[in-house]
């Protein structure tokens, strides 16, 4: 099970809980499972088939993860504001 850290804005779906656990071999699958558990959360995470503009994902300590990145058992997934470099 992956451990998903939800930003404040999404914790209203999880009854204020964070982190929460979800199942999946890729980030996308984890998010699909999350939407099963917390209906509606997907729409706040996705725009069409990609991640919402302005968001950035991290799997473990690696920032900038992508939806197809694989997720290992106990991996943490973080949903963060996007950053730009100078």
């Amino acid at each position: 099970m992956a451990v998903v850290y939800l930003p404040k804005a999404l914790q209203m779906f999880s009854g204020g809980n964070s982190p929460v656990v979800a199942r999946g071999k890729t980030v996308r699958e984890v998010f699909e499972d999350l939407d099963q558990q917390y209906p509606g959360i997907r729409d706040r995470l996705f725009a069409g088939s990609s991640i919402q503009p302005g968001l950035m994902l991290a799997v473990g300590s690696r920032m900038g993860a992508r939806l197809l990145d694989s997720v290992d058992e106990d991996d943490e997934i973080h949903i963060l504001p996007a950053i730009g470099g100078g």
């Binding site: 850290y5 930003p7 404040k8 804005a9 914790q11 209203m12 725009a47 990609s50 503009p53 302005g54 991290a58 473990g60 300590s61 690696r62 920032m63 900038g64 993860a65 943490e76 973080h78 963060l80 504001p81 996007a82 950053i83 730009g84 470099g85 100078g86």
Partner: protein, 763 residues
């Protein structure tokens, strides 16, 4: 100094002459302003005299009638964008806002906002024509600070901006237009419990001025709208592919119909990612059928291109008896400028990144004000945050009578530390930079003399990964043409070529790197986020490995031996009974088969962050408040220094800019929201007389996600200087500066306030 012998690198860690050096020092290198094309017209842009106004009408007829004027453009010539958001390589952008920034739609939101443009036979006619354009403005009250802009009832900049809430459903329901575009909130542990445990608590509020990247070369673009509908653009840009995409999206034409050729670039620092001129030059070219070149002047660069935000930051820290940080609270409001998009999110994520703190909370606000739309500037959002947090850390040390170095070592983030925004750090080198400062000659020799003080500060920046492409073609003489898509701002042609040469076991002088246009190389993200040596480096290493595989199989074919018996090391191919150097082999292969072309891409790998710790000595003139920087040492975790001189150069450059930000740089506005110092005379970048020799200490903690351990180095060196200098001033003059810049008149005012009876600062 990196130790090559130990790692047995041949090229990495050496200091070859840069491939583009001769052309640059002899004035042969071609910059955007040098572009000359047959039939070229000169373009000029009319800019708003108001900081905030509604445009009632624009009458261009008199300008159009002026002899020599070929076309006039306004926002009416730009296609409608609806309300779409588009991913533009380094973050997503609201296209309506981007379009209105390029040519104002119905409102101007800052002085200098582009309103109309002219193409004429020469620049003098174009400038005369601008004077003939009649714009009817309805001036509106300008909103110049985050404090004003967040106040209830403040004049609204954008009626389509609604606060994106950080939290609860109630806030979400409240969807009225606002100057606050976004609210961020990060929490860790239990803040109240943390502060309850704290023995010492310090809280301060900081005010930050708007500052500019200050690159020497102004923005420029030359566009030609071809008869077949394709568009060519020559320009100065940090990212040819994002420039292409922005231009195409703004014009609503297919992305591949635009070809962007990146010219040499005279600095960017984050400010040359957004496009301003290409769509305008393109429209003028479409109207005239001729190429159009537009070059900004310095005032336009200051008034209309991305500065980095000013704002307000409050920081409260609590430490227990032993000097362990137990609670931290921060509140950040950053100016977005005219349209949403300040780096406050990054500021929130960086502010406590140097410390392992169990209980913390960070709140951030992205706030629209009547200033140019802000853009990235070296570690966007982090320098402001470091100024605030490091100053408070120093005050805590002062209260606890703890040595600042020991305090930092005790509280430093390291592998396994969970940040306030959630993720856990992997292998990072903050502790090593602190130790390096502790062991430095500078640290061991006291500043000495009256009115002198010393300051130490650390800083953090993420560094990004993103995508790059490289192709490499081996010529018959054994030299390699290396084609990349990363505009070279800081010597990356060479640092990429060195990684390629190292991998293929050939001399770096035999690699000829070239930065190609968007039709001639694979997709490559911006030169920014300290990513090129890392990510384009990986692509170059991949291309070298690809070539190595081809060489092995071709050698097997040539020598008629099984491929698994062929071995390529250090530029020599061997097989039982056979041996050939790279050059010998290539010459033979050229005679006997197809060309050798390698390719490499990157995009999967992401960087661990970068940390720096700086030490500075200053002298403060107690009668004028002027601060002189006496000595500066910057220790930084640089992963592996591919070309140590360029790494040092990045550190020195970042520190130089940080010193300017600390001491004198600021957008100085009058009460009408008009910038009064839009020149390099009064916008005071440091000169060489204002900077000491900046001593870099390269700490090498390789990043495991890069084949040679590269870590981005370009951004983090700008983070610590303002804080380190503020701390040194506090020691030298006994005043805590909580406002940037720490210009002489402000330092003097603080000194005078302190000496006035009853006004002593808490020391």
């Amino acid at each position: 100094m990196p130790d090559n012998a130990q790692r047995s690198y041949k090229v990495i860690g050496t200091r070859p002459i840069r491939h583009d050096g001769v052309d640059k020092v002899t004035g042969r290198a071609k910059y955007g302003a040098d572009v000359m094309l047959t039939g070229l017209l000169a373009g000029a842009v009319l800019r708003s005299p108001h900081a905030h106004a509604r445009i009632r009408s624009i009458d261009t007829s008199a300008a159009e009638a002026l002899p020599g004027v070929r076309a006039v453009a306004t926002a009416r010539d730009l296609p409608d964008q609806g309300s779409r958001m588009v991913e533009l390589g380094e973050g997503s952008v609201n296209m309506r806002h981007l379009s209105a920034n390029v040519l104002a739609h119905d409102k101007v939101l800052y002085k200098g906002h582009a309103v109309a443009a002219v193409a004429a036979d020469n620049i003098h006619i174009a400038q005369e024509a601008l004077k003939l354009i009649r714009v009817d403005y309805e001036p509106l009250p300008p909103v110049m600070t985050v404090t004003e802009a967040m106040r209830a009832g403040a004049p609204l900049l954008n009626d389509d901006v609604v606060t994106q809430p950080a939290g609860n459903a109630e806030a979400l329901a409240e969807s009225k237009p606002s100057n606050v575009a976004k609210h961020f909130l990060f929490e860790k542990g239990n803040l109240d419990e943390g502060f309850a445990r704290a023995k010492h608590v310090v809280e301060r509020e900081f005010h930050l001025a708007t500052v500019h990247q200050g690159y020497i070369e102004p923005h420029n673009a030359t566009a030609l709208w071809h008869a077949d509908g394709k568009v060519s653009v020559w320009m100065s840009t940090q990212g040819s592919f994002t420039a292409r995409q922005q231009t195409a999206e703004l014009l609503r034409i297919p992305v591949s119909d635009v070809k962007v050729t990146p010219m040499e670039i005279g600095g960017g620092f984050g400010g040359k990612i957004s496009v301003y001129l290409p769509p305008v030059a393109a429209i003028l070219s479409r109207k005239t059928g001729r190429p159009v070149k537009i070059v900004m002047d310095r005032a336009a660069v200051f008034e209309a291109t991305g500065p980095t935000p000013g704002g307000v930051i409050r920081v409260k820290l609590g430490a227990d008896e032993s000097g362990k940080l137990v609670a931290a609270d921060a509140w950040l409001a950053y100016e977005a400028g005219a349209y949403p998009g300040s780096p406050v999110g990054a500021g929130c994520m960086c502010i406590f990144a140097c410390y392992d703190i169990p209980n913390a909370r960070v709140e951030g606000f992205d706030v629209c004000v009547n200033k140019p739309r802000t853009n990235a500037y070296r570690a966007p959002g982090s320098t402001q945050a470091a100024f605030a947090v490091e100053t408070v850390v120093d005050e805590i040390c002062q209260r606890l009578k703890l040595d600042p170095l020991e305090f930092r070592l005790k509280n430093a983030s390291s592998e396994g530390t969970r940040r306030v925004d959630g993720p856990v750090f992997s292998r990072v080198g903050l502790v090593e930079t602190l130790q390096a400062i502790g062991n430095s000659e500078h640290y061991k020799s006291p500043p000495g003399g009256p009115n002198r003080g010393r300051g130490m500060a650390s800083g953090f920046w993420f560094n990004v990964g993103l995508k790059s492409s490289v192709t490499a073609t081996i010529g018959c003489d054994g030299k390699v043409a290396l084609v990349e898509g990363s505009p070279d701002i800081g010597g990356t042609r060479t640092s990429i070529a060195m990684q390629f040469a190292e991998t293929l076991g050939i001399p770096v002088e035999d690699v000829h790197p070239a930065v190609a246009d968007t039709d001639s190389v694979g997709y490559t993200d911006v030169t920014g986020g300290s990513r090129v040596t890392f990510s384009t480096g990986i692509a170059a290493v991949e291309a070298a490995r690809d070539l190595e595989r081809q060489l092995v199989s071709r050698a097997a074919e040539l020598w008629n031996v099984p491929a698994d018996q062929v071995c390529y090391t250090n530029g020599v191919m061997t097989a039982p009974g056979h041996k050939a150097t790279f050059k010998e082999l290539v010459a033979e292969l050229h005679e006997t088969g197809e060309p050798l072309v390698g390719r490499g891409t990157s995009g999967k790998a992401n960087q661990a962050g970068a940390f720096a710790t700086h030490l500075v000595d200053v002298e403060v003139d107690p009668e004028t408040g002027k601060v002189q920087i006496l000595r500066y040492t910057a220790a930084q975790d640089v992963g592996t220094a591919i070309h140590p001189s360029y790494v040092e150069g990045q550190i020195q450059g970042g520190v130089g800019q940080g010193i300017g930000w600390a001491l004198n740089e600021e957008y100085w506005y009058d009460d009408r929201g008009s910038m009064r110092n839009a020149t390099f005379l009064d916008y005071r970048l440091p000169t060489c007389y204002d900077l000491p020799m900046i001593e870099p200490i390269l700490v090498e903690v390789p990043d495991p996600s890069h084949p040679y351990g590269v870590r981005g180095v370009g951004e983090v060196p700008i983070c610590p200087p303002p804080a380190a200098i503020a701390i040194a001033i506090a020691q030298a003059a006994g005043v805590r500066m909580t406002e940037l810049p720490m210009a002489p008149h402000k330092v003097m005012a603080a000194i005078l306030a302190k000496s006035r009876p009853g006004n002593g600062q808490p020391h």
